[in-house]
């Protein structure tokens, strides 16, 4: 680089003896340039060749042009659901039904968890794993159970990697999943409105609209969001075939996902899978707008608290102690 002055950046034609000889389109120099550029372009095309395979196998024109969930007409949505069922059949070899569960009027879901009786068995996390068609290799789940040291509510003292019989006498357990905040930071930060809060309080993701920037994952204070780092792998006989567009259908690669309070169940009047799996009855789920619901009873009679209240996220997920 610090060579003598003859190598020039700007006065390029100084050595070539002026511009005269470049005038012909087919001069030796122009031909060489053209050749080099063609070669360069070909090299870039070759370098990008893995994309060709991916475009062929994993995407389609219909998918590329698909509108945002909330802008789909009834007929559009029908077609999308059909297409997704067909894709699932092709990719995973099994028949699934993908429905569109809408929020019910007069319902706002809330969840409460009794920390006094949670034994940390992680069956909720496991149930979530199966119910929501998570990737098997990563044993992903929307729930993380923290083993907490008695005498502290500080998560810093928590540990998710405990590996001993539970419950440990000196510990208590705190499962954490999406808090379905009323003021969700994840929704605010999304640049493309791929995630939003539904009328019944559930924060959902349109897996076919998300661009995978993972800003929501950075914004969530509860580690509730997950990214599909690769295409999920699930053996076909383990797939839960009862699926919903906004919840447990098998997610595409490269998009965000999260707990949806099992909306494919709860919007049908059933309980979330994690609640049904809980052997101690630590979980209480229901309609916050119904004054006679069990969840309301808990909130009215127990001293409940929410996680990281100081952040102003206003969770719909409550914790309480019995004794």
């Amino acid at each position: 680089m610090n060579d003598t002055s003859q190598g020039c950046g700007s006065n390029c034609s100084c050595k070539g003896g002026g511009g005269a000889r470049d005038d012909s389109l087919f001069s030796r120099r122009n031909l060489l340039k053209g050749g080099a550029m063609t070669l360069g372009a070909a090299a870039f095309a070759k370098a990008l060749s893995p994309l060709a395979h991916w475009t062929r196998e994993e995407t389609s024109v219909e998918e590329f042009l698909q509108k945002h969930y909330r802008e789909l007409t009834k007929i559009d949505l029908e077609l999308v659901l059909k297409r997704l069922e067909k894709d699932a059949k092709e990719n995973y070899g099994t028949d699934v039904t993908i429905t569109d569960h809408r929020p019910q009027k007069g319902v706002k879901f809330g969840y409460a968890l009794n920390l006094s009786i949670c034994i940390g068995c992680r069956r909720c996390a496991e149930a979530c794993h199966h119910e929501n068609n998570h990737d098997r290799a990563t044993s992903n789940s929307y729930i993380r159970v923290l083993e907490m040291t008695k005498g502290s509510m500080d998560m810093e003292k928590g540990n998710v990697h405990y590996d001993h019989p539970v419950p440990h006498p000196d510990r208590f357990y705190m499962p954490v999943q999406c808090q379905q905040c009323d003021n969700p930071p994840c929704v605010d930060v999304c640049p493309v409105e791929a995630t939003w809060k539904e009328e019944d309080g559930i924060v959902v993701v349109d897996y076919n609209w998300c661009i995978g920037c993972r800003y929501c994952e950075a914004a969530c204070p509860y580690h509730a969001r997950r990214f599909n780092w690769k295409k999920p792998v699930i053996p076909k006989d383990e797939i839960n075939p009862n699926q919903s567009y906004l919840s447990n259908r098998i997610r595409p690669q490269g998009v965000m996902e999260k707990c949806t309070f099992c909306l494919h169940r709860t919007r049908d009047g059933r309980m979330p899978a994690c609640l049904e799996a809980c052997p101690t009855g630590a979980r209480v789920f229901g309609n916050l707008l119904d004054p006679h619901s069990e969840i309301r009873k808990v909130i009215d009679t127990k001293r409940v608290f929410v996680l990281k209240e100081e952040l102003g996220t206003r969770p719909s997920f409550f914790y309480f102690f019995d004794e």
Binding site: G7, A43, A47, T55, F227
Partner: protein
């Protein structure tokens, strides 16, 4: 490469037809200037192309196989890409430290060289945009983030602000550089009305790009490490170290390789700026460290991890101390009297300052924001081979664009190109 400024103030003298032909001649000349050079030039371009090819391929594989090929996880969900993005936004903004002396203080020498800073802004913004694209899980859905076409979550999402300010800054600089170059090519005096307002707008805009980039992070209440009002000022200050440092080296290379006159004044002014900004940046760093460590508690956990590690987790410790050491050495070197005349000292200071801030804003800022995670899990991060390849590829691509831009701009500005085209 340069936008058509079809209608200019000279429209009175030139009609659209004139511009249609002369702009084509201008583009032809630009193409010729950009593709002809010494062997050294060809070798340089060849090497950059090869690196860019490696990066391109690695990215294609990443899109096909998923981002599992990176070292990122659900815990550390942004890594080397966003780190570089953050740093390079600063590099783009740093060019403004040439624009301000040139246009506000009417520094003669700087006025002659300011285009070098403006072109750097163009190349940098292209790199920024590429770093965002490679960080997307679904780059095929890029159109979702385009205003009017997709669903643009403006004004609430800071990322949409970033899309606006970055592309706006790109367009501003393309216009300014394109207009000035075309006018030089025509051998006419540029009409102030057609670029000075844009230059002043670009000064404010440069501040905005880095402020908005800081707001991406500091607005997140769940990440105490980033959640500090000092972040934007720190970003700007460190950008005004890294930007000038890069340009000082570039100016010297141009002085050696071309006939362009680089006045002593430009380098002296830039060094003057760096001397101050590097110290302010260190003061801000100390201020952050003091707040974190003296207060203690969970707000200081990430900072402690960053500088000293945490129970056997110490992946970032060597990075951060390297950064701090580099910055301090650079600051001391820059204090040498008349450092602009001692080029070796100056160059070492520039390289150390540049590298120090590259680490500070990347491995020293983006990564520790995720460690420990929001549930206090300790998952560490070091970039994977794929990430290094893609990162190197984008840097090579950026340098390639910058080289080509300079290759066209310098002879056009010196008037040498006119001899060629006539």
């Amino acid at each position: 490469m340069t936008p058509p400024d079809a209608e200019t103030a000279d429209a009175s003298r030139h009609d659209a037809r004139f511009h249609a032909t002369s702009y084509l001649r201008f583009l032809r000349l630009a193409f010729r200037l950009a593709t002809e050079g010494s062997w050294l030039f060809y070798a340089w371009m060849f090497v950059l192309t090869c690196i860019a090819l490696v990066g391109t391929h690695a990215w294609a594989v990443q899109v096909r196989d998923g981002m599992a090929v990176t070292a990122m996880t659900d815990h550390v969900s942004w890594g080397l890409y966003i780190a570089n993005f953050t740093f390079i936004v600063g590099l783009a903004a740093g060019g403004v430290m040439m624009v301000i002396p040139a246009y506000i203080y009417h520094d003669r020498d700087m006025h002659d060289t300011v285009i070098i800073g403006e072109l750097l802004a163009i190349a940098s913004i292209v790199m920024c945009l590429l770093f965002v694209v490679v960080d997307l899980g679904r780059p095929d859905r890029f159109w979702h983030i385009m205003p009017f076409v997709g669903k643009f979550n403006w004004p609430i999402s800071m990322l949409t602000w970033d899309v606006i300010v970055l592309n706006g800054y790109l367009l501003l600089n393309l216009h300014i550089c394109g207009y000035l170059l075309y006018k030089r090519f025509l051998g006419e005096t540029p009409d102030k009305r057609w670029y000075v307002p844009f230059v002043f707008l670009s000064i404010a805009w440069a501040i905005s790009i880095h402020t908005v980039t800081a707001f991406l992070y500091c607005g997140l209440g769940g990440r105490p490490f980033w959640n500090t009002a000092l972040l934007a000022p720190r970003f700007l200050t460190s950008a005004f170290v890294a930007g000038p440092a890069f340009i000082v080296v570039v100016l010297q290379i141009i002085r050696r390789m071309t006939k362009m006159k680089i006045g002593e004044g430009s380098i002296r002014t830039l060094v003057g700026i760096m001397r101050i900004t590097i110290l302010i940046n260190l003061v801000m760093l100390v201020s952050e460290i003091f707040t974190s460590f003296y207060t203690g508690g969970s707000h200081g956990v990430s900072a402690k991890y960053l500088f000293f590690g945490h129970h056997g987790h110490g992946a970032l410790v060597p990075w951060m101390w390297t950064s701090v050491t580099f910055s301090i050495i650079a600051a001391i070197l820059l204090m040498r009297p008349k450092v602009h005349e001692h080029l070796w000292t100056l160059d070492i200071a520039c390289v150390l300052g540049f590298a120090g801030i590259w680490i500070e804003k990347g491995m020293g800022l983006i990564i520790p924001g995720f460690i420990p995670s929001t549930l206090h899990e300790w998952v560490e991060y070091l970039p994977s081979a794929t990430e290094w390849k893609i990162t190197a590829g984008i840097w090579a691509g950026g340098l390639l664009i910058y080289t080509l831009l300079l290759k066209v701009a310098i002879p056009v500005f010196s008037g040498e190109a006119n001899k060629l085209s006539n």
